[in-house]
């Protein structure tokens, strides 16, 4: 073969390759038969949202899927109530009202009249009962739930013990239509490509690997609130691409982390671009493995906590977007629950090197002549802080902590393998310390249960899925079970206050900062966004409150 002939065949091969690839992708994507050009022309009318952690979508709208498609639980399926952490209130949604029984062993919801599924079928109490049956069967959980009874427009959840935390647990689950799901042979594995829900935007349109549209539910129960034509989701394999789209003005809502947001996003159009990061995310804790010395010593945990400069942590590690923790351990999500007494007289979450040193001296960890402290057995006071290598923000948090600790003579090395390895260490309980998420729920029960409840403590070597630091406190246990049994809110508040006092006493973990819920928007095309002055929802697109935003936005006139 001559060179020219070779080149010629290479050209043909290349052309063939290109066409073949087109055929392949073309064939894979032509399942949907709606008008392509129409969709392109109307594109400007859709609320456009990027999804930064999915490079591509698959047409799977099954809410049981572990990695569920965006908007399935926000726009397609709805729940009985929506809890809004920005205001600390519950918004009645598919239920208009609910009431706990006096003995705390059941809750009865009254369902809203006139709600229909997107296929026109009426929404009935049986749908709710069926959803919980299915959920319990497929995914487990709800151990406290004995059964669900549907009667007329009322649904009653019966518990096997007084269990008040159930309200948000059952109230926030997405309700599925029984007439669709009971007909599926294998509901867990069904792709549910054409979902039927009660939400505002349910009709999947023009589904492509990197974008899809959800159009108006034709039978929505509050049609006057469907003011936008639909939602368009775009896929991105990372924050950078999504941030570029936001900076370029191609998306209306940017829920991902944007570094230096004033400069990279807002400054390009100050009139229309805004952001709001309420501290309503989970509390980010520094967990010390309490099965190991010296972390089993509460004074040590408090001293280390005092050595940490939280202002520096939030400023350097979190770009100033997060808010430092206080001694209640509760994030901004629980603002209405906070014990002001504990919060105002807070000591051990305040940066105080002098006190940290004193406390360590007193607890018996003396500073040597080289300025480094030793443990009681004479070994150097040294340990690791484990953080996954991909979390650059938390890595800088760990680095700041490490520098802070050096000031009190404690050596903390930042250890950053892959998250898989880090989490494996947490689960088995052989880690020293790490930075972790904590439970975030409308009531503080779960937070305290997973930071200091004995029930969540697993022995070292046995897999734990929370309470990695393995701390149990009998006093807290008693308070927790009282809390679970309490039915009225004021009683719950009293107990929550005591839980915070106990937390303040024992310092089960070192709380660092309230995780912010990222949210930025561009109101060139749509108005009515939640803001700090009008916090009817957070700006997150993955929270239960997202449906409140979707039903409040309207096109700019």
């Amino acid at each position: 073969m001559t060179q020219t002939r070779f080149l010629k065949s290479a050209r043909i091969a290349a052309a063939g390759l290109a066409v073949g690839a087109m055929l392949l992708t073309g064939c894979a994507a032509t399942g949907n038969k709606s008008g392509g050009t129409d969709a392109a022309a109307n594109a400007s009318a859709f609320l456009t949202i990027p999804r930064e952690d999915m490079g591509t979508f698959v047409q799977n709208f099954n809410p049981f899927a572990p990695t569920v498609n965006p908007m399935v639980q926000q726009s397609i399926y709805e729940s009985l109530l929506v809890f809004n952490p920005a205001q600390g209130n519950s918004v009645p949604w598919l239920a208009t009202d609910w009431k706990a029984a006096d003995d705390g062993k059941s809750i009865t919801f009254t369902l809203r009249d006139g709600v229909k599924w997107s296929d026109g079928q009426p929404f009935v109490a049986d749908d709710v009962a069926y959803t919980f049956e299915l959920q319990k069967k497929l995914k487990g959980g709800y151990e406290y739930l004995d059964g669900v009874t549907a009667q007329g427009n009322k649904v009653t959840f019966n518990f096997n013990k007084p269990w008040s935390p159930a309200l948000y647990d059952v109230g926030q689950l997405s309700i599925l239509p029984k007439h669709i799901w009971s007909a599926l042979a294998d509901p867990e594995k069904d792709a549910n490509a054409k979902p039927v829900g009660t939400g505002p935007y349910t009709e999947v349109d023009n589904f492509q690997a990197q974008s899809f549209v959800l159009k108006k539910n034709p039978n929505y129960w509050q049609p006057d609130k469907q003011k936008i034509a639909g939602i368009k989701m775009l896929a991105f394999a990372g924050n950078d691409g999504a941030n570029l789209a936001a900076a370029n003005g191609d998306v209306d809502w940017a829920p991902q982390y944007i570094p230096n947001i004033e400069k990279t996003f807002v400054s390009k159009d100050k009139d229309h671009r805004h952001y709001w990061f309420p501290p309503t995310g989970a509390m980010i804790n520094w967990q010390l493995n309490t099965t190991k010395a010296p972390f089993n010593d509460g004074d040590v945990r408090k001293a280390l906590s005092m050595a940490v400069d939280r202002d520096q942590v939030t400023k350097i590690g979190m770009s100033g977007y997060a808010q430092p923790a206080d001694c209640t351990g509760l994030s901004g999500n629980y603002e209405t629950w906070k014990n002001t007494q504990v919060k105002d007289n807070c000591t051990w979450t305040k940066h105080d090197v002098q006190q940290a040193n004193d406390l360590l001296d007193k607890a018996g960890y003396p500073k040597g002549p080289d300025g480094k402290r030793t443990l009681k057995d004479g070994k150097p006071f040294e340990f690791k802080i484990s953080v996954g290598a991909t979390s650059s923000d938390w890595l800088s948090v760990a680095n700041v902590i490490s520098q802070n600790l050096a000031e009190v003579g404690v050596t903390a090395k930042v250890d950053s393998p892959d998250w898989a390895a880090v989490v494996a260490g947490y689960e088995k309980g052989d880690f020293d310390s790490g930075i972790v998420w904590s439970a975030n729920d409308p009531s503080p029960y779960k937070y305290f249960n997973t930071t200091m409840g004995s029930a969540s403590v697993k022995p070292v070597g046995t897999k734990a899925s929370d309470n990695y630091h393995r701390f149990g406190d009998p006093k807290a246990d008693a308070l927790l079970s009282d809390f679970a049994a309490a039915t009225d809110q004021s009683r719950q508040k009293d107990i929550a206050n005591k839980l915070q006092e106990e937390y303040n006493d024992v310092a089960p973990v070192v709380p660092l900062f309230s995780g912010p819920e990222w949210g930025a928007y561009n109101d060139t095309r749509f108005t009515g966004w939640p803001t700090q002055d009008n916090p009817y929802a957070t700006l997150s697109v993955r929270a239960p409150t997202t449906v409140l935003v979707l039903t409040s936005l309207e096109p700019r006139k």
């Binding site: 001559t2 060179q3 070779f6 290479a10 050209r11 390759l17 290109a18 073949g20 690839a21 087109m22 392949l24 992708t25 073309g26 994507a29 032509t30 949907n32 392509g36 969709a39 392109a40 109307n42 594109a43 490079g55 698959v58 799977n60 099954n62 572990p66 990695t67 995914k139 487990g140 709800y142 151990e143 867990e188 594995k189 792709a191 023009n206 492509q208 690997a209 990197q210 974008s211 775009l234 896929a235 991105f236 394999a237 950078d240 691409g241 570029l244 789209a245 370029n248 989970a282 892959d418 998250w419 898989a420 390895a421 989490v423 689960e427 998420w437 904590s438 439970a439 899925s465 929370d466």
Partner: protein, 325 residues
Amino acid sequence: MRFILRRLGFYLIAFWASITLNFLLPRFMPGDPVSRMFARSQDRMQPEQLEALRKLLGVDDRPIWEQYAGYLQNILTGQMGVSITRFPTPVTEVISSQIGWTLLLGGTALVIAAVVGNLLGILAAWRRGSALDSALPPVLVFIGSFPYFWLAMGALYLFGVVLGWFPIRHAFTDGLEPAFTAEFFGDVAAHLVLPALTIVLVSIGGWMLGMRNTMIATNSEDYITMAEAKGLRPGRIMLRYAARNAMLPSVTSFGMGLGFVVGGALLTEVVFAYPGVGYQLLNAVQGLDYPLMQGLFLTITAAVLLANFLVDILYVRLDPRVRSN
């Protein structure tokens, strides 16, 4: 024929070895997919649900040899299982819906880089010491040594955002439906320019240098001198005599390159938000999605081996010395 059969035998063993590695490697990684999912869900998942999820996803505690037997059986029957990170989508569906774009992007970039790079190499060696020979290779090598990520971001920013010449994301305009129309193909081509161009830019230097260096060695061979003495046209000598003999290493590289195209260009896909299997692979590794990882590795392995086998056959045709061995 015996040569080809012998090679085939070798490839079968290589294939077995690599699928076994594909099986073992992910299982050496710490943790299990369900815990990873739980950790990544940032507390939107109930701990009580972990067990049910483990059962559902088939993350099992069977002895490893039993899992291995099942794995081999699945490969032979073409059943790759269900992706864990994309549950309940079958692995074959995840891969088949993406790989076309990967092949289009990687294939186009590879062919352009190889053809243009080799031609430039031939010319540079033929006109040794000319401006082309002295200026272009260092420039291309310089560009090729840029961190790809940086180069791609720069190109994206300059040509996509500032100048607005090319689209800045995805394989075609959002809202467009794939169809066999000139409009759609044009749209795909426009979206292909920046990602393909950046890959070509960083890889073309290698092709050019490789070709140039072999060509220079070939140029000093006696048969070139003889061809010149015979008074043949220089163009003919350059292509038929020198380039043809200098081409063998390039053919090998091309075959290798073809195999690796299947693995996807991860960084390109991330920067340009281009669909493809590269990002899918990253995702699978991060989520410990064994079935998807195995499916992708298997595809890559098969492609590399197949490309190598084709190169082997081509070699027999191009280089008679291989046959006599």
